[in-house]
């Protein structure tokens, strides 16, 4: 048995990780290995070798039993160790001798007992004998080829035992800073002259410079500097002849040309550095890339890939978040239907949920020829399986299977989407079809929105550098699917992901990316802005200071009405007055505002008053509605709470609804430039005409926004005609403006045609059928070219004569 102690003067060197790597690799190589955690004050090896498992007993318990009785415990060591799974067919064995059930109160109590029982530095030799006896028993009872010890940092009695007494070899990890190097230098020199058990040669020391950043050249340079530092003032046997650098990130390897998104190349980055170190530590039979090493590295490449971040940047992640390291375990036996099988990688539902959802098994040869999946299908409930191997000794070859709960596996080829936890919210984690993703988003799983947007872009955009094949059917499926999403979070995600990224635009994004942003804004965000729920869009509008949702308004103004809408107008006017305009237009105001109102609208108040006037035909009746408006508002408020009263007020003698849009379902206040949606009246109306209430809200909001743009929109030459504001209804004899409503209905209809939204068009048609003649003109005008009506609008705004007749 060879004993290798891993020591670091300071923490944060990756020591425990290196112990775990070495232990697993040796076990995969067919060696019998015991990994002993002597970092008693801060044990952690069980997190690496047996994640999710709390050891029942450990070395602290063993030593308390030994020192308390003055003799070694009679119980076999198997009572204290935890066997770690190794693949079937290998001769290797791996046992974890954990510190104990840490972290827990019982563990700390046991540790305190140990420290009180006996100082390790005691001349009677009991503590030393207990520790040496443990080592001897490990050798006798477990017969390992290697005992790997994770030692405590700093200078401690137990750390000294682990390095100078127990070890044959000491791997001494340090990082590139002054205190780490000075401490390591002192420890290495001490180890060279440390007292050893009789007949045992001096400890061999392997200095390891860890967490090196950069590529191979940086590695050599760091190694030379570290050697110079460690040999400062050294003479004779104090001289260190070699240092083993290990890079910080297993994926870093600048001399490799493989794409970063592909798990490939077994000997790269930190793994190559590990390999050099292990070759030096265990020179016999370790030359070349052994199958065990390939498997070990392949497993870690897979794990790294499973936990690596999604595609995109921090502003715009394109793919969902990957798994967290805490969810993943290496090397476990899995199975729950009459058998267990070794899984190289296991992914759990969450860090707190021990239910495995994905397993990966390394197979010899071509994964496509393997039938291992049959076992997993039969004996486990995992929903995804990856069979992987090394193809050509360098690239990970894989075959992915997924299934619905209690279903059979479907071969997904080399699809890697299963690395997203979000995928497991789908019925089948491998089914990333557009319809499946849309179903998930509609059920509230907004994490797939970015993926759908990317898919829509691929189906619609052909930039200057080429693109994917246009697919109008997919594009329509996505936009219709997204438009039908309801729910605060999901709608917010759609608005956010499709709107232009102002930060990126200001950061100087160039060329094709800008074009793609613009394309997405105009062709996806703008129509979706109108089709998603009124509540969602108003909340989004009110929440964002940079108003990047204005594209929907601009679409209506320019594409449909032939106007422009300039939300920066006020800001620029102010800046011009200040004589400078260098300030970034961040907190500018828009000229439009939207609100949802659940109180009574003016038209309802008017009808309430009219009804009361008719009923209360008394000498004291008011001459003007303003005189009774307070009580009228109260009555209207009461009417809102009673469908019976609303029916009386809003239905004609034939019981058919008799509603107007403006001032009853919605409204536009030209003094505040505010569009209002009267939600309770819209809800009543939707019930009355039997249409989708959300669609009706959108139709009303659209209609009122046309009124707003007629007012605040600019002609193409920049002229604005404030006097064309929608008349307010304050009189008892109010009639809708045929001109205003005719234009509003026409442009609403044109916009609905453009949006091609079935429920909205249906709501519009049904609503119009129960409205006064002013609202029905669009039916006669639908064949009139939009350009003609735009001309009428321009004339009307300019106050030219005969516009109404022109409209007719």
């Amino acid at each position: 048995m060879e004993t290798i102690t891993f020591y670091s003067y300071k923490g944060g060197t990756g020591r425990t990780l290196l112990v775990a790597h070495t232990a697993r690799y040796l076990a995969l190589s067919g060696k019998r290995v015991v990994a002993l955690d002597l970092d008693l004050e801060a044990p952690g090896l069980h997190y690496r070798l047996a994640p999710g498992t709390t050891p029942y007993r450990g070395v602290t318990d063993y030593l308390v039993d030994s020192l308390g009785a003055g003799r070694a415990p009679e119980a076999p060591l198997t009572d204290y160790v935890l066997p770690i799974a190794v693949p079937e067919g290998t001769d290797g064995r791996l046992w974890l001798f954990a510190a104990g059930p840490a972290p827990s109160g019982s563990y700390w109590k046991q540790l305190t007992s140990l420290l009180h029982l006996s100082p390790f530095l005691e001349a009677n030799g009991t503590a030393l004998a207990a520790v040496l006896d443990l080592k001897a028993r490990i050798e006798d009872e477990l017969t390992p080829d290697y005992l790997l010890i994770d030692a405590r940092t700093g200078i401690t009695e137990i750390g000294g035992m682990a390095t100078s007494v127990l070890a044959d070899k000491v791997v001494c990890l340090f990082v590139d800073n002054r205190e780490s190097i000075d401490g390591t230098r002192a420890v290495i020199r001490s180890l060279r002259k440390a007292e050893r058990p009789s007949g045992y040669p001096p400890v061999q020391v392997f200095p390891v410079l860890s967490r090196v950043t950069g590529d191979l050249e940086d590695l050599d340079e760091a190694k030379q500097f570290a050697l110079e530092d460690l040999n400062s003032g050294a003479t004779g046997s104090e001289i260190v002849h070699d240092v083993y650098p290990i890079r910080a990130d297993p994926r870093i390897d600048n001399d490799d040309t493989s794409p970063a998104s592909s798990p490939s190349v077994p000997l790269k980055g930190a793994f190559r550095d590990y390999r050099f170190l292990l070759s030096a530590l265990m020179p016999a039979g370790q030359s070349g890339v052994s199958p065990a090493w390939a498997r070990h590295v392949a497993v870690h490449q897979l794990v790294e890939w499973l936990i690596s971040g999604g595609i995109g940047d921090r502003h715009r992640p394109v793919t969902p978040r990957a798994f967290r390291a805490e969810q993943i375990a290496e090397g476990l036996h899995i199975g729950d239907r009459g058998g267990v099988r070794y899984a190289d990688v296991v992914v759990f539902a969450s860090a707190d949920d021990a239910k495995p959802i994905l397993v990966a098994e390394y197979v010899d040869g071509d994964p496509r020829a393997s039938t291992s999946w049959e076992w997993w299908q039969e004996h486990s409930e995992v929903r995804a399986l990856i069979l992987f191997s090394l193809s050509g000794g360098s690239v990970l070859d894989r075959r992915v299977f997924t299934r619905e709960r209690f279903g059979e596996f479907v071969d997904r080829g080399d699809e890697w989407a299963v690395r997203w936890p979000l995928s497991f919210t789908l019925e089948d984690p491998g089914d990333l079809s557009t319809s499946a993703l849309l179903r998930a988003v509609r059920s509230g799983e907004d994490g797939f929105v970015a993926l759908l947007v990317q898919r829509w872009q691929n189906a619609t955009y052909f930039g200057i550098h080429g693109g994917f094949d246009p697919d109008p059917a997919v594009a329509k499926e996505i936009i219709d699917g997204l438009a039908s999403v309801r729910g605060e979070h999901a709608e917010w995600a759609i608005f956010w992901r499709t709107a232009p990224d102002v930060e990126r635009l200001y950061a100087g994004m160039m060329g094709e990316e800008v074009m793609l942003e613009q394309h997405t804004t105009e062709a996806l965000h703008a129509p979706l802005w109108w089709r998603l729920s009124a509540k969602g869009k108003i909340r989004h509008w009110q929440a964002l200071s940079d108003r990047n949702t204005v594209a929907g308004i601009k679409m209506l103004a320019s594409e449909i009405m032939g106007l422009t809408f300039d939300q920066d107008r006020e800001f620029r006017a102010q800046a011009a007055r200040l004589g400078r305009s260098k300030r970034r237009p961040r907190d500018f105001t828009t000229e439009l505002d939207f609100e949802m109102h659940d109180g009574p609208p003016p038209e309802l108040i008017r009808r309430v008053i009219l009804e009361s006037v008719d009923v209360q035909d008394s000498p004291g009746r008011p001459a003007h509605p303003k005189d009774v408006s307070p009580s009228g508002e109260e009555l209207a408020q009461r009417a809102l709470d009673s469908d019976e009263i609303l029916d009386r007020l809003l239905r004609g003698p034939d019981r058919r609804p008799n509603v107007v849009t403006t001032n009853l379902l919605g409204g536009y206040d030209p003094t505040a430039c505010r569009v209002t949606l009267y939600t309770r009246l819209v809800a009543w109306c939707a019930r009355a005409i039997d249409c989708d209430p959300s669609a009706l809200e959108n139709v009303v909001l659209l209609h009122e926004t046309v009124h707003a743009l007629c007012h605040v929109g600019l002609d193409l030459d920049g002229c604005r005609w404030d006097e064309f504001a929608l008349p307010m209804s304050t009189g008892l004899t109010f009639r809708p403006s045929a001109l205003h409503e005719g234009l509003a209905q026409y442009f609403t209809f044109r916009m609905l045609e453009r949006l091609a939204d079935g429920p909205m068009m249906d709501a519009f048609e049904r609503l119009t059928s129960v409205q006064p003649p002013e609202y029905e003109q669009w039916r006669r005008m639908r064949a009139v070219p939009a350009e003609v009506v735009r001309g009428v609008l321009i004339q009307a705004r300019a106050g030219l004569a005969n516009t109404l007749s022109a409209l007719h």
């Binding site: 070694a72 530095l121 001349a123 006896d133 390095t163 420890v187 440390a194």
Partner: protein, 146 residues
């Protein structure tokens, strides 16, 4: 402190240390350090040429050895040997005491280690473990930094 009181305390300390040793208590060795300190107090109050003084000096050195503090025992021998009135016979006796008691202690401790930790004893030698432990303690650290 009066010599009689010191003698009384020393007797009690010896009885205590022997009893702890008999039952294999973890603190047995440390209790001999108390004996050594008390015997040294008596030694300072007595003439080295007197029988009582010679016995006290032998007791202080011997108890230090049994406490596993050979370093202290050696310092005491140097000190007592240089005292005025120290006879050659006392000097020889003290020097021999360290060797004899150290061997005895190693044997005793070795036997206890061999009984309690047979695997380690078979692999490394029970007495060798005690000697290594003492060496490490003498160096004050398992890692002899500095």
């Amino acid at each position: 402190m009066e010599l009689d009181a010191l003698n009384l305390l020393t007797s009690e300390a010896i009885l205590r240390a022997e009893a702890l040793t008999d039952i294999g208590a973890p603190g047995a060795e440390a209790s001999y350090l108390d004996v050594s300190l008390l015997e040294d107090q008596i030694a300072q109050a007595t003439d080295p040429s007197s029988t009582e003084g010679a016995l006290a000096r032998q007791g202080a050195v011997g108890a230090a050895v049994l406490a596993g503090r050979t370093d202290r025992a050696e310092q005491l021998v140097i000190l007592y040997s240089a005292q005025v009135g120290a006879t050659d016979e006392l000097r020889d006796e003290l020097a021999g005491l360290i060797i004899r008691l150290t061997e005895l202690r190693f044997q005793d401790r070795g036997m206890a280690i061999a009984r309690g930790f047979p695997s380690a004893s078979a692999r490394y030698g029970a007495e060798a473990i005690v000697r290594l432990a003492e060496t490490i303690v003498r160096q004050a650290e398992p890692l002899p930094i500095g």
